[in-house]
Every structure is written in C-alpha cells, then in structure tokens.
C-alpha cells in the first residue's frame, strides 16, 4: 500500500506551489485559483489522515471545507466582478485605494 507519508508530502508540495502562485501571479482571478489549490492540498492531507487512522471524521471535514470553498468562490467572484467594473483592470497591483 502507499504509505501515508507520500500523500502528506504531495500535500505539502501542492500547498507550496499554491503559495508560489499566490505571491507571483498578478491576475486577481488566478490568485483565487491559487487559494483553491491550497484548499485542495489541505483536503488531501485530511483524507490521508482519515484513511490512515481509520476514522471517517476527516472526510466529513473535507465536505465542510468544500462547502466553505464554494461559498467563498461565489462571494469572491462577485467582488472581483465589482472591482473589475470600477477599476477597469484585473491586476491586483492596480487595486490600491487603501494604499497611502
């Protein structure tokens, strides 16, 4: 069988790639996708632990994470549409009203 550590390492790598994407990308929609990637990495760790310990609680948590991610994506994309309408740009560097 596949050792649990392998899944955890893959989860760590995907989370790290999510951070890289979040820091380097400039398009606000791609930033949101980076967040989704990190959530997916965490879900993988949840399922790996749940299967390894033989308790299905972790899988129930994954369902909650997916529900919260869906709500977050809906609200976040609504906000993105509003900013794009007002600033005429999707670049996060151009959304700087709160900057001094």
């Amino acid at each position: 069988m596949v050792p649990t550590n392998y899944y955890l390492f893959l989860s760590a790598i995907l989370f790290g790639l999510g951070i890289v994407a979040f820091v380097f990308k400039r398009n606000v929609i791609t930033l949101f996708m980076a967040i989704e990637l990190m959530l997916n990495a965490v879900n993988l760790a949840f399922v790996a632990f749940s299967q390894s310990l033989g308790k299905p609680d972790g899988e129930v948590f994954v369902l909650f994470v997916i529900i919260v991610a869906a709500a977050e994506a809906a609200v976040g994309l609504g906000i993105i549409i509003l900013t794009a309408r007002n600033r005429h740009s999707l670049n996060v560097e151009r959304v700087d009203l709160l900057k001094l």
Partner: protein, 166 residues
C-alpha cells in the same frame, strides 16, 4: 513497486505538473484548465485511498460547479493575458524563499513525526457513504445546519454585490 504505488506516482506527477502549469501560464483560462487537471488527479488519489464519496464530490463540486463559475467569470470579464508589473519587490525577492521555507517546514514535521502513521486501509476497503452520512447527520449535525446558513448568507451577499445601483 506495487501497482498502487505506481498509480500514486502517476497521479501525483499529473497533479504537480498541473500546479506548475497554473503558475507558468499567462492566460487565466489556461490556469483554470490546469487547476481542473489538478482536481481530477486529486479525485483519483481519493479513490486510491478508498474515499469514494469525497472523490465524487471533488469532481462534481470542484471540477464541475466551482471551476465552471471561474471560467464563466473569466469569459464575462473578457480577461486577457496577465500584464507584467514590477510594483512589488517583496514578491520577487521573498516569494520563492517563503514558499520553500513553508514547504520545508511541513515536510520536516512529516519526517519527524509521520513515521508512526499506519498506511491507509488496503484498497477495496472503501469508506462507505453510509458511515459518512451517519456521522454527518448525528455527530456533525449542528455544523451541517450552520453550513446551510453560510450558503444562504453567501447567496444574499452575491445578490447584493451583483446588483447595479440605481
């Protein structure tokens, strides 16, 4: 190497390549398609672990609903290629070290404490949907009800945001 390990490495390689492609692609729609590849590969990994319900939910909700929403917004806003700006020096100098440090920290924690973890149950021993739903509707019934409020608030929020002011 046994068959499950080979399947794991194939799916893991697909997931990592998809994530790297998400970073390297300049056009948001290509990034979105890369993310779908990652999600389908992760669904395969869930199946390999025996979490069949989570695998189905991953494809239906993540790969289906959420990514279709993303692609709709990309097309709605007519998002073009990402423009390169050099406003933030922090990202260029601290970005890669930060990500490597976080990944290294997590990996070190896994190496130091993860050895005692037993391997997942052999494939064929699937977590039945019945077990999962019994848990969800008995032990986790309050969080479950709260999520319906969360979704209601999200719906109302999106309606308020999307409305044009008159």
């Amino acid at each position: 190497m046994t068959a499950p390990v080979v399947i794991f490495f194939v799916l893991a390689a697909i997931a990592v390549l998809g994530a790297v492609s998400l970073i390297l692609q300049r056009h948001p729609i290509h990034s979105a398609l890369s993310l779908i590849v990652v999600m389908v590969a992760l669904a395969g990994l869930y199946l390999l672990m025996g979490a069949e319900f989570v695998a189905a939910i991953q494809i239906i909700i993540y790969g289906g609903a959420i990514m279709v929403l993303f692609i709709f917004v990309i097309m709605l806003l007519n998002a073009g290629e990402e423009e390169r700006t050099n406003f933030s020096g922090l990202a260029t100098y601290a970005g890669i070290p930060l990500a490597v440090a976080v990944t290294g920290l997590i990996a070190a924690a896994i190496v130091s404490s993860g050895r005692s973890l037993p391997a997942p149950a052999p494939s064929g021993a699937l977590t039945s949907t019945k077990t999962l739903s019994l848990l969800l509707f008995n032990e986790f019934v309050y969080p479950f009800e709260l999520t319906s409020f969360l979704i209601l608030v999200a719906i109302l929020g999106v309606i308020v945001l999307a409305q044009r002011e008159n």
